[in-house]
């Protein structure tokens, strides 16, 4: 037994599909999480986020209106964000390497490819508790460091700044 007090956590679940929200909240409740907030869109999530200041966010990527990636960008960079460091676990049907990289570059802490399972949900929740990543601030990016090891010694080009320039140009 690990002895986690999951009952002390506040978790925000963001998904525009009601069934997926129910599935995720059912798993989290069984883990012992009591304070679970739900949002069916990125816009609604931004409001709930500012009202409840959750400890962890479980977030869908593809949603009508504001996408999960756009919401993460707001959480990390918007001055009105209540907690730019809040861990974000992205839960998505996207499974390609490019999508995982895009999510990481946007500031996601952990990634779950659907279909969701109890084991994966537990493992990602434990990961954000036990293995938090350092944070990076540059002119073009703020969020968790993409490199889990060796970040302190990195001396290569600042690729994220290039990414930001490309995104701005698009």
């Amino acid at each position: 037994m690990s002895g986690y007090r999951f009952d002390r956590l506040k978790i925000l679940v963001v998904d525009d599909n009601i069934h997926m929200r129910k599935l995720v909240t059912t798993i989290l409740q069984a883990f012992g999480v009591v304070q679970i907030y739900e949002a069916d869109s990125g816009d609604r999530a931004w409001t709930v986020l500012r009202e409840s200041n959750p400890d962890v966010i479980v977030l869908d990527w593809v949603m009508e209106g504001m996408s999960g990636i756009e919401l993460v960008n707001m959480i990390r960079a918007n001055p009105a964000s209540p907690n730019p460091f809040v861990p974000v676990i992205m839960l998505t049907g996207h499974t390609s390497f490019e999508h995982v990289r895009e999510a990481r570059d946007a500031g996601i802490n952990e990634f779950i490819a659907k279909p969701v399972s109890v084991k994966t949900m537990m493992s990602r929740l434990v990961a954000v508790i036990e293995n938090p990543r350092p944070y990076v601030r540059t002119s073009g990016y703020f969020g968790p460091c993409r490199r889990r090891r060796g970040a302190e010694d990195y001396r290569g080009p600042e690729r994220r700044a290039e990414n930001a320039k490309q995104q701005a140009a698009e």
Binding site: M1, S2, G3, Y4, R5, F6, R8, L9, D16, N17, H19, M20, K22, L23, T26, I27, Q29, A30, F31, G32, D55, V56, V62, M63, E64, F85, P87, T92, G93, H94, K114, P115, V116, V118, K119, M121, M122, S123, V126, V128, I129, E130, P132, P134, Y135, V136, R137, T138, S139, C145, A151, E152, Y154, R155, G156, P157, E158, A161
Partner: protein
């Protein structure tokens, strides 16, 4: 040694989450996982309604796209297909997930200015309807496998030609 091109601030914020939930031993909470597996089993009775609801949404999105082929209807069709791709395996419909994955790939990978062929959208949605109506949950079903392979091949051909 190469120099950084711009200043980088790297720091480790205090681990407030760990301070809040404790858990000195780390690792998965096996008792919590058992409770969650049992809770998931308790939901299984609802899965038939949930997949039916998702298929209905896809059919509605297909009808909307067939009527008006614009960016909004295309995005709605992609969202409906993408939801099914991610959820159908949980609802014990892996074949539906496969066809929805093919449909998502076609819509997502075709350049935005290239129209998604309605006939090929229909072929995917019709296949999903048939698999759902026949309650085909066995991935070894030969007819369904052949149908999935055919749809995959047609999407491959389309993407090769348009990219």
């Amino acid at each position: 040694m190469a120099q950084r091109q711009q200043p980088i601030e790297l720091f480790m914020p205090p681990n407030m989450l760990k301070a809040k939930v404790g858990g000195g031993l780390g690792g998965a909470d096996m008792a919590a996982m058992k409770r969650a597996e049992a809770a998931m089993d308790g939901l299984k009775g609802e899965f038939a309604d949930w997949i039916a609801d998702d298929v209905k949404k896809l059919i509605e999105a297909r009808a909307r796209y067939a009527k008006t082929q614009d960016a909004d209807s295309r995005a709605a069709l992609l969202r409906a297909a993408h939801d099914i791709k991610g959820q159908a395996p949980t609802f014990n419909y892996p074949l539906i997930a496969r066809v929805a994955g093919s449909l998502s790939r076609m819509i997502g990978e075709l350049p935005p200015h290239t129209a998604v062929p309605v006939a090929l959208v229909d072929a995917h949605v019709n296949a999903i309807q048939v698999i759902h109506k026949m309650a085909l949950q066995d991935t070894n079903d030969k007819t369904a496998q052949a149908l999935c392979a055919e749809l995959d091949a047609r999407v491959d051909d389309l993407l090769k030609a348009k990219k």
